[in-house]
């Protein structure tokens, strides 16, 4: 199992390199000049100097290499320093000092050069770390909620095949599958915020949970974004769950289990369910890209200032370093969840492991 995991882990490195190359080349091939925003009064020779300072004159592979170094070497160092200095989890460790170097000219201790956002002139990763929890909370919770709703629906629909519940469930999941989040979002806002006035339509990220009342506020404002995202997950997963259960319910081993006098509950909930979970787990993990895509839209609808919203504002502000980093972070999240899917698949199905 360990070698299987390590092999998968190693395989994800070329994937990430490929994705980073695609993102990088996309930005390189794109026409458009990073210096376009510089005023026309700046003389051409100064512009040329600025261009060189940005590293634009160098060949593409050098630029790519430098970007990789920046992302995979410099930023983790800074992160490690921050983690050992300021966080609760790793703060007990001795403070590390990877992210500074001694200037050979003056002998002074200086921080390393980090990737800077063109909008805010502050390090990109600092902003991302501020924004990340919101996205992960909303996306993560919606996924958990979606799975918790989807699996019982899938099981019961398959168990009572062609029953009224099954028919209704199939219809509802089909509808949920088809309605895009940018329609359900405004729809829910109209119904629950405007007409009924039950829930806030804007997600307040500055809200801090301290006691029961503030937790309730947090809960109320999370309902709609989470449910919009969860609808898609629920629809997709319950369809797969139903299909997988149907496949397994007609197998010989189920008849054997019933024939030897097992209780119906243990036949369905233990024997059939465990075998049906194998494909469903993969679908759950592979659905992550779609969920992060949906998160961009949901964050836009409910004004959650997570990384999806950050990506959009950066795109409109033509903040290329930020866009590049964020797209790559989305890619890392996707690759990570694919990896988890693979490992879980191996755990659940020994045939894969020994392949």
């Amino acid at each position: 199992m360990l070698t299987f995991t390590i092999r998968r882990l190693l395989l994800s490195i070329p994937t990430l390199l490929f994705i980073s190359l695609v993102i990088f080349l996309l930005l390189q091939l794109a026409p458009g000049d990073p210096m376009a925003q510089v005023p026309l009064t700046v003389p051409p020779e100064v512009k040329q100097k600025m261009r060189e300072a940005l590293g634009l004159g160098q060949p593409i592979y050098v630029q790519y290499y430098k970007w990789l170094i920046q992302f995979f070497w410099v930023e983790p160092q800074v992160f490690l320093d921050w983690a050992t200095r300021d966080t609760f989890l790793l703060g007990w460790l001795p403070d590390t000092n990877f992210s500074t170097f001694i200037d050979p000219d003056s002998g002074a201790v200086r921080p390393v050069q980090r990737t800077i956002s063109w909008q805010t002139r502050s390090p990109i990763m600092d902003i991302v770390i501020q924004r990340m929890p919101q996205t992960l909370w909303v996306v993560g919770l919606s996924y958990v909620v979606g799975i918790l709703i989807a699996i019982p629906i899938g099981i019961y629909s398959a168990y009572r095949h062609y029953s009224l519940f099954d028919q209704a469930g199939t219809f509802v999941t089909m509808v949920g599958f088809s309605i895009p989040p940018f329609f359900t979002g405004p729809l829910l806002i109209v119904v629950f915020s405007v007409t009924l006035g039950w829930l806030p339509s804007i997600y307040d990220t500055t809200h801090v949970v301290t006691d029961w009342a503030s937790f309730k506020v947090q809960f109320m404002q999370m309902i709609m974004p989470v449910m919009v995202l969860a609808l898609q997950t629920t629809a997709q997963i319950s369809r797969y769950m139903r299909g997988a259960m149907l496949d397994n319910l007609n197998q010989d081993y189920v008849r054997t289990a019933r024939a030897k006098g097992l209780k119906e509950s243990s036949v369905v909930m233990v024997h059939v369910l465990r075998n049906s979970m194998i494909p469903v787990v993969t679908v759950i993990a592979l659905g992550m890209p779609a969920i992060f895509g949906g998160a961009i839209i949901t964050e836009n609808v409910f004004k959650v200032n997570g990384i999806g919203q950050l990506l959009l504002t950066a795109l409109f502000a033509n903040d290329l370093p930020m866009v590049m980093t964020l797209t790559f972070i989305f890619a890392i999240l996707i690759v990570l969840f694919n990896l988890i899917a693979d490992v879980l698949y191996g755990l659940l199905d020994p045939r894969i492991r020994y392949d």
Partner: protein, 332 residues
Amino acid sequence: MTEQAIPASPIEADIETFGALVDKEPSKPPRSQWFDVWQQFRKHKGAVFGGGFLLFITLAVVFGPFLWDVDPKALDIRNKNWRPIYQLLFDNEAKAGWAHPFGTDQLGRDIMAQMIAGGQVSMAVGWLAMALALVIGSAIGVISGYFKKLDFWLMRFTDLVLSLPILPLTLLAVTLFRQPLNSRFGPEGGMFILIVGIIGLTSWMQTARIVRGDILALKEREFILAARSIGTRSGKIIRRHLLPNVISPIMVSATLGLATAIITESALSFLGVGFPSDFPTWGKLLSDAVSRMQEFPERVLLPGIAISLTVLSVNYLGDGLRDALDPRLRGR
């Protein structure tokens, strides 16, 4: 022992025996495969509805402008903010009328005409992007299933593309490549090419995988061996023997592709990176209406329902097609 009637002559006996074997009715022509598929397809009510609705909406956006010849871009500021016609049912004072059955927007443009025009764009993007994805997906699937040497690399490539963050990349590509394409093909044409291209290039992977799997299984069958043994070239085998046999998975993934393409286009328009602002598409209409949806909920509802119903019908169509084309999967 019972007495049996002894036939008068052996010839007569033959005729009698033969007569018992002949069918009473005139023989029917053999049932074709596609007739069976159609029979099966008709049993799936959702699929028939879905197919019907898709046909209806396609015809509506194609022939709509001839029946409802109001210019979707014509401003009529005196008649702005009309409500849809059904508003008259509960409110006699409402600004509504048959001149604008779906009402008008804040600049007095007719919403029905905009819906038709927007539908044209959305459906055209959907069909073309789906066709592009199908061509790429089938080609890669067939090649990697048929030629063993290329299989490994093509499938690795497919896996890599599958793990790309599609929506962020699409957003990125649309914003970056908008300018040059706009200057060459005009703002609408450029954006159309761009969106169709990007959706097509990022949604072929599922088709490729499914087609490859089927080709791998088909390749080992006897009829391929027979074709090869009489000296048929690879290209001919693929065109004559393999492609017709994988047409059903291709059709099923076509429906899925159409649904995804329509949703992606609308999502791009909704996020404000799609078509230029005065160019109606369903997603654009929806996103423009969100800011005033308290007063005019119908402006969100109409395009939203159009998108959702189209996608729903396409999904049902795909479900029915899968059932019809693969009887083993019936009832999923």
